[in-house]
């Protein structure tokens, strides 16, 4: 190897490794790592790649289910949706890049999750986003982040032709310095096209294809540069990655055609830690070695050092393995799609990742050391003695009357209509979208095949579909990590039930603070325990996910935010219930939420109440038992509308049903805040024929009709409700 002196411990520490980890690397290599090796280790042994603080917890999650086709460990998990088709899906965070540059950070977040999905051979058919920012009323910066992050998501998704069909956004002070940008993608594939990422077959060829490699995202690793940069050269180390959806569109079509033609042994996207991570993961999964020739990697600008090429996070790149006799065909397909394809290495039986530059070996590491031997750290979870978060700022007087309270809630940043946001997303491309945002609690997509052909309808004209929902309330998880997480999973399941879908699988992104702090460790372990229990109760497997830790600002950690995405199937999209009231004269029924309380509710937030220490426990079996009858009633077409009672409680849910249908309601609801505005799990507002509502155990509280929402003394014209609900538009001027 090169004669240059190895960088040493000081650099290793600067790259984020501990002294102990450095010593272990020296032991595993039998010598000190050289520059490029240290770069590889520092990235693969980072929390992001190694899951060194979370892997033990993740292993407690249930990953088996009747529909499961591919579980955690691949780029995306997949479930069987019938007809020989599978849906692959995953949610991933791009929090830290988005805090630096929200437009490009969010855009490349979408680009990254799309690649994860087509890396398994699925055509991306839908995107959802889950966003958290500080309080927009107080924070100019939060408004800026919101505007630009939404712009970036739209830019990427709209330009690549994948609809953004749903999502969620919440505003809370603890996200002020650390916004969350999570994106979920669903893809569709014929079952036989699914591919794994394990490299196999010594002498097989590694082909890098897609964009050329630049110095994008080298960021921290730039301390390794052999030449000191002067201030004028600073621009040579850009850490902001720019997304190019046009390049990704070509990459997507190219990848799927390569798979359709059966030309590949394995396929993997390049994401965090670039080539290092992709090559090492592929080798590790296949229990093989790889030789990589960095001088063959096409560069966007000259003069990149080997370590820069190995860790560059330039976007829109994929790595595949093909047998030598197929390489020419692979390159021809690349050329047809105007995508660069370059053989850059070979699979070996050495079990080592060896890096060559102009034929000279410049790095040589056991794959196992890189991928498996990173130390795992036990958490030291401890429940905090004192509240971690200050009470929210008060914006509503405790003495406000019911009407004022309701309009204040509807106009609040967390509850107002998301229309000004989701209208910036193409929700329709690919022609599957049966229920768009605000039409139902879950997005509903027809199950046409990846080429847009819908199978012949069933004997009664049924049109099979899938449904998807994404949820997670940080404030409720902060109040009670276990119950709050259970509630998030139940809310997803309730959303699916509203459209008649049965859950098939779940993905999650665990956004937490620094796990080395005992109280964050406690939030994380309690939350994962809740996630596992709720999944087991629902018999829904976790098919994959992502962990984003160290989300902290100067004032402490973010609200612990497990974001849950759930995918389900329904036999007939025509029956997917809307949330809007449909018909004058329909009866309105309420199934009150389980464990409802005002603690950690939106109302308490507006009133500036501190978070409670714990939420009322939710009876999980009872909650799960509520879902099936709702689902069956929807499938049977017995209801006109179904909406789950979530943030803001029952009265807010009813107002939403009125607004969506432009129909008033005349109801009787107990004259107390808990009944009106209390929040819990698996509550519903239904409309339809009275007997159907009663059969579901709903309390019938009134009828649809009129131009106002009337509840006892309270009477608010629809126009007034609509004006309050439209408050978010002010943030997008």
């Amino acid at each position: 190897m090169g004669a240059e002196a190895p960088p040493g411990l000081a650099e290793a520490v600067e790259l984020g490794l501990t002294e102990g980890e450095y010593a272990l690397i020296v032991e595993l290599l039998g010598r000190e790592p050289v520059q490029v090796e240290l770069a590889c280790f520092s990235l693969l042994w980072s929390e992001h790649c190694s899951y060194k603080h979370s892997r033990a917890l993740l292993s407690t999650l249930p990953t088996e289910g009747p529909a499961l086709v591919m579980g955690p460990g691949e780029n995306a998990g997949a479930v069987d949706v019938g007809d020989g088709m599978v849906v692959a899906f995953k949610v991933e965070s791009h929090n830290h890049p988005s805090a630096v540059e929200p437009f490009q950070g969010a855009a490349t977040g979408v680009g990254g999750i799309l690649r994860d999905v087509f890396a398994v051979g699925a055509r991306p058919i839908a995107i959802l986003d889950s966003l958290r920012f500080g309080e927009p009323a107080q924070s100019e910066r939060s408004r800026y982040l919101l505007d630009h992050a939404v712009g970036g998501i739209g830019h990427y998704g709209n330009s690549i032709g994948v609809p953004t069909v749903g999502g969620e956004v919440y505003f809370e002070a603890p996200y002020e310095q650390n916004c969350l940008i999570n994106a979920m993608c669903l893809g569709l594939a014929p079952r036989e096209r699914l591919i794994r990422s394990a490299a196999a077959g010594p002498d097989n060829v590694l082909i890098l294809f897609g964009a050329r490699t630049g110095r994008d995202g080298i960021g921290g690793a730039s301390v390794l540069a052999s030449a000191e940069l002067s201030a004028d050269d600073e621009h040579k180390r850009p850490s902001v990655q720019i997304g190019d959806p046009f390049e990704e569109k070509k990459l997507l079509e190219c990848s799927l055609e390569l798979l359709d033609r059966g030309l590949l042994v394995a396929l993997q996207d390049l994401g965090a830690a670039g080539l290092t991570s992709s090559a090492a993961e592929m080798a590790s999964k296949g229990e093989v070695g790889v030789d990589l020739h960095v001088d063959r990697v096409p560069l966007r600008e000259p003069g990149l050092e080997p370590f820069e090429i190995m860790v560059s996070e330039s976007q829109e790149r994929m790595l595949c393995v093909a047998t030598p006799d197929r390489v020419a065909d692979v390159l021809a397909i690349c050329a047809h799609h105007e995508v660069h394809g370059t053989p850059i290495g070979t699979v070996t039986d050495t079990g080592r990742m060896r890096i060559f530059e102009h034929g000279e070996m410049v790095g040589d590491m056991p794959v196992r050391a890189l991928v498996d031997d990173c130390p795992r750290y036990a958490l030291d979870p401890r429940k905090p003695e004192a509240p971690l978060y200050p009470p929210p700022a008060r914006s509503l007087d405790r003495g406000a009357g019911a009407a004022q309270t309701l309009t204040a809630l509807l106009a609040s940043a967390n509850l107002s209509s998301r229309r000004p946001l989701f209208e910036q997303y193409d929700a329709l491309v690919q022609s599957r979208t049966v229920r768009r945002p605000e039409q139902a609690d879950a997005s509903v997509l027809l199950l046409s095949d990846p080429d847009g052909r819908e199978p012949a309808p069933g004997p009664l004209g049924e049109r099979p579909a899938i449904a998807v929902s994404i949820d997670g309330s940080g404030r409720r998880v902060a109040a009670d990590p276990y119950t709050g997480t259970v509630a998030a999973v139940l809310e997803c399941a309730a959303n699916l039930a509203c459209v008649g879908a049965e859950p098939l699988g779940l993905t999650n992104c665990l956004n937490f603070g620094n796990p080395e702090k005992p109280h964050v460790a406690w939030q994380l372990s309690e939350s994962v325990r809740g996630l596992g229990d709720a999944c087991r109760a629902l018999s829904v497997p976790v098919v994959g996910g992502n962990v984003s830790l160290y989300n902290e600002g100067a004032d402490g950690p973010i609200y612990p935010t497990p974001v849950v995405g759930m995918v389900g199937a329904l036999p007939d999209a025509r029956r997917a219930a809307p949330l809007a009231f449909q018909r004058r004269g329909d009866a309105i029924g309420v199934i009150a939420p389980l464990g409802a309380s005002l603690g950690a509710s939106e109302l308490h937030k507006l009133r500036g109440e501190p978070l409670p220490d714990g939420l009322p426990a939710i009876d999980l079996p009872a909650a799960v038992a509520r879902l099936t009858p709702i689902r069956d009633a929807v499938r049977a077409g017995e209801l006109s509308s179904v909406h789950d009672i979530a943030e803001g409680g029952a009265l807010v849910a009813i107002a939403e049903c009125c607004l969506a249908g432009a129909l008033g309601a005349e109801i009787e609801l107990e004259d107390d805040d808990e009944a009106r505005f209390g929040e819990g799990a698996v509550g519903f507002v239904l409309s339809g024929p009275e007997p159907a509502l009663r059969a579901l155990g709903a309390r019938v509280i009134g009828t649809v009709g009129g131009e106002a929402l009337r509840a006892g003394a309270l009477s608010i014209p629809l126009a007034e409700l609509a004006e309050a609900h439209g408050a978010l538009a002010a943030l997008f001027r």
Binding site: G151, G154, H155, N158, S159, I160, G161, D244, P245, F246, E247, K249, K250, H337, E338, F422, E423, Q424, Y425, D426, A427, L428, V429, Q430, S431, R432, T433, V434, R436, L446, S448, D451, G452, R453, R463, A573, R574, F732
Partner: protein, 225 residues
Amino acid sequence: MRFGIVRFPGSCDEVDALRAAERVGDATLLWHTERDLKGADAIIVPGGFSYGDYLRCGAIARFAPVMEAVAEHAREGGLVLGICNGFQVLCEAGLLPGALLPNTGVRFLCRQVDVQVENASTPFTWRCERRDTLSIPVKHTTGRYYAPEEVLDDLEAHRRIVLRYAPGHNPNGSSRDVAGVCSEQGNVMGLMPHPEHAVDPLTGSDDGLRLLESMASAARVVGHH
């Protein structure tokens, strides 16, 4: 009766257009490098972001080899429909008057809008009645129709404004609420709304189908081949 749907790198709605066209006829995709229209009777230049749309929407696509054949087809009287990005491409190519500018709201906008049929005797609308209202979605950032006043006057005088946004539905600030215009001969039309996304009540509306049906039967009559 056969539709040819142009596919540029970066097209997004070409498969939607293909499946929509298949509801009323035969349809095939035409790759941007091809000069052969594969016997298509009517051409659709679909939506999306051709070549990334990085310079100016439609500016690069209009130079694609396939567009030479499309222009030739139009000169011979064949039907050409440009949807969204396809409308931009046809304007850039000079097959339609005017240009599309950024929405007054600056942002991308995806919304179901009502459009009114102003001229029901074009090959694209003859299955509609004048003043019919169609519910069709728009989704674009650059859809504000612009042409100099005298051009707009002329378009109006010759009934070449085929579709207008219904009152209160103009999503982008288009001059005189123009949603779709046609060529002097009436065989080339461009519109910002997406009729291929309005072919099934389950996904929102099937009003767009009437435009495609009009084309299918008109192409059969004209039968320029």
